[in-house]
């Protein structure tokens, strides 16, 4: 029997729909695969099935995962799917299969000897680490209209994991976080719920209209960072390994 590749869109909706389809084929899971995006390396003797994402189907799959594998596993899976890794769809699919076959599916993430579970575990950790990094490394700049604006360039698609932290922390303020790589925004109006904006143009002029105090604060902080360092302990390599250059690029205190 030939292998079948389900070609899914790179989104929760796309991949969950793919998993649903895989189950409905009622074939041996080892011959079914989920692939994200284009059918890159076409294999001979393989069948390719394009999957159209469907919100209703995806919701059913997500409910099943939450019910059978538990909330914690579900969050790990969502974080894994936010990863930029292209094998994530397959890893999540096979992890779900593994979990549903276990007596207690809630323990599936402990099954690290399974390569797919291990992959999901790693991807989850990668995404989570980037979220934790950006909780600290993200910088807001205050615009003339009082809005706090931040531009970040994350490797993984993490805005939705980052937003709740800042919405809680700065609940009374208006802020916007812009994912420079994917062109998506989180918008948080003061005292209201945050939401995601895609396909929007950014008014770059407005984003450089700082408030009266903004540049002064940037200077104060840059000076602070300079003064807090102990010169007898200087270690730029350590600094760089703790705070990789790809983050520094977006941080006011490292601007030349």
């Amino acid at each position: 029997m030939e292998e079948k590749y389900l070609i899914c869109e790179d989104s929760l909706e796309g991949i969950f729909t793919g998993i649903y389809k895989a189950y409905s084929l009622k074939e041996d899971h080892s011959r079914l695969h989920i692939q994200i995006g284009e059918e890159e390396n076409l294999r001979l003797f393989a069948e390719y099935i394009p999957i159209v994402p469907d919100a209703g189907t995806a919701v059913r799959v997500s409910r099943t995962i939450q019910r059978e594998l538990g909330e914690e596993t579900y969050i790990s899976i969502c974080r894994a799917l936010a990863s930029m890794d292209k094998q994530k769809g397959e890893a999540v699919y096979k992890t779900v299969v593994c979990g549903l076959q276990m007596q207690n599916g809630r323990q599936v993430m402990g099954n690290l000897t399974n390569p797919y579970v291990h992959k999901v575990f790693e991807l989850n950790r990668g995404t989570n680490n980037e979220v934790l990094h950006l909780m600290g490394f993200l910088r807001f700049q205050e615009l003339e209209n009082g809005i706090l604006f931040s531009k970040i360039g994350p490797k993984n698609n993490i805005l939705t994991f980052l937003a709740p932290h800042f919405a809680d922390r700065l609940s009374l303020l208006n802020f916007v976080i812009y994912d420079d790589i994917r062109g998506i925004f989180v918008v948080h109006p003061a005292s209201k719920d945050w939401y995601l904006v895609t396909n929007a143009e950014i008014d770059s002029e407005m984003m450089e209209n700082y408030s009266r105090e903004e540049l002064e604060y940037q200077e104060l902080f840059t000076y602070f960072c300079h003064k807090i360092a102990i010169k007898e302990r200087k270690n730029l390599n350590l600094q760089r390994s703790m705070l990789p250059l790809r983050f520094q690029e977006y941080m006011v205190e490292f601007r030349k």
Partner: protein, 449 residues
């Protein structure tokens, strides 16, 4: 209020001076508390702590770490702010500190404030200023982020109590592990005056916890616990003394953290060691590793060091060093050993030990599995078996394993930028002669208070 504030100085200049003066104090925001925002102010706290930046020395920046003032009536020999130093003096006003904190916080530069201070006029006067600053920050600015504040030794306990109800963490720095060290280098400080507020804070934390059980909305006193700092290498105490002091502080004073700060000689005082190799960073690193073993690995100071062997091995981390001296316990079968024993294996940390316990429920673990889990096999392989077999045919013999472990380069946080191993080991060569008495350390810290 009437204390001298140099009016001419800009906030920028003050920030420079009062940051410079605060930089030797160690603090971090981890092992704190999770506190959600209330929706009526600004800020929350995250138990794991958040690093917001890293300075050129590779240390984490998470707090606006400043002194309220660098004026000081005392003359501690190791301190840049001591009264006999001729340095520019300045003080913030409570409002300036509030504005800086809020301005930094909302831009996500910091996790909160770490406010320390020199002693202006007297301890009470200084503590009162610190209290007022916190009061404004919490009540007027509705700041709900992290605050770590110093309790000034000798200040009225009532002021310390009031301040503690506004702070997340409080600390009193012990600075020097023995009473002799303290009286030699900090003639105005007395161990009793340092331990008294420590005890007060400990009791305050305890009774606050009880009150919260009774009344959910009782105000919380220092919810993120108490910490202290020990300076490493300014006085001749050995590592065993330092670790014993730390252990006592954890057990008897229930401190959350003890920080170690490699001595930086800023004053070139004749009472102080010259440290031509720079601050004793390797020693500081070993102490942090050992401290970790005390807090999370179930080790006792007496297992790691002894009077006969009072200092950590320069070449090996304290856990590997311990394992080599206890080879009779190895090899350990990873598929059966209990969690506490797994923790004692070099190359296995808290996380990998937890994962092993979890993963072996569903299958027998092999060496490649262990690697996936995050075990550092290059280090662990001499100490473990999987299904009764060792990874390679290795001897369980101290010299042999030591030699092999030394070929695996240990990741040190500071062995890059030109600081060499040779220079680091110089702390051994400082040539202290005095050998303080170990009993005194116990007595001093336990202090019949």
């Amino acid at each position: 209020m009437n204390y001298k504030v140099s009016e001419e100085m800009s906030v920028m200049e003050k920030l420079g001076i009062l940051t410079d003066a605060a930089k030797y104090d160690v603090a971090c925001t981890s092992s704190g508390v999770d506190r959600k925002g209330s929706g009526s102010g600004m800020g929350n706290t995250v138990a794991g702590g958040i690093c917001h930046s890293f300075s050129a020395d590779g240390r984490c920046i998470s707090l606006l770490k400043i002194l309220f003032t660098n004026e000081c009536i005392y003359d501690c020999k190791y301190c840049i702010n001591r009264k006999s130093n001729d340095v520019v003096r300045t003080s913030f006003t409570p409002d300036e500190v509030c504005e800086l904190t809020m301005g930094f916080y909302k831009r996500n530069y910091i996790e909160g404030l770490f406010l320390s201070s020199g002693i202006l006029y007297n301890p009470d006067f200084t503590m009162e200023l610190i209290y007022q600053t916190l009061y404004k920050l919490r009540r007027e600015h509705r700041f709900q982020g992290y605050i770590h504040v110093k309790a000034i030794p000798g200040a009225d306990p009532f002021l310390i109590q009031k301040t503690g109800l506004l702070a997340d963490r409080m600390s009193v720095n012990l600075e020097l592990p023995t009473a002799e060290g303290l009286s030699r280098l900090a003639p105005n400080k007395h161990r009793k005056n340092i331990l008294a507020p420590m005890r007060q804070i400990q009791n305050g934390i305890k009774s606050s916890k009880n009150e919260i059980v009774l009344y959910k909305n009782a105000p919380r006193f220092v919810p993120a616990g108490q910490s202290t700092q020990l300076i490493v290498g300014a006085t001749p105490e050995n590592d065993y003394q330092l670790m014993t002091v730390a252990e006592n502080l954890y057990e008897k004073f229930e401190l959350k953290r003890v920080f170690y700060s490699a001595f930086v000689n800023v004053n070139e005082d004749k009472e102080l060691p010259a440290l031509p190799g720079g601050p004793p960073l390797l020693r500081e690193h070993r102490l942090y590793q050992a401290d970790w073993l005390l807090r999370f690995y179930g080790f006792k100071a007496g297992e790691l060091l002894s009077e006969a062997r009072p200092n950590f091995n320069i070449l090996l981390d304290p856990k590997a060093d311990w394992a080599l001296r206890h080879l009779e316990m190895f090899p350990v079968e990873v598929n059966r050993a209990d969690y506490q024993l797994l923790l004692r294996i070099p190359g296995i940390g808290v996380k990998s030990a937890q994962r092993i316990v979890m993963a072996r429920r569903s299958s027998f673990l092999s060496f490649p599995d262990l690697k996936k889990i995050g075990v550092v096999l290059k280090r662990a392989l001499y100490f473990i078996t999987c299904n009764g077999k060792m990874m390679y045919n290795t001897k369980i013999e101290e010299d042999y394993i030591t030699r092999n472990l030394l070929t695996v380069k240990e990741k040190l946080p500071f062995d890059k930028d030109g600081i060499t191993y040779k220079q680091l080991s110089l702390f051994d060569d400082v040539g202290f002669t005095m050998q303080p008495n170990i009993i005194d350390t116990h007595k001093a810290v336990l202090g019949q208070m």
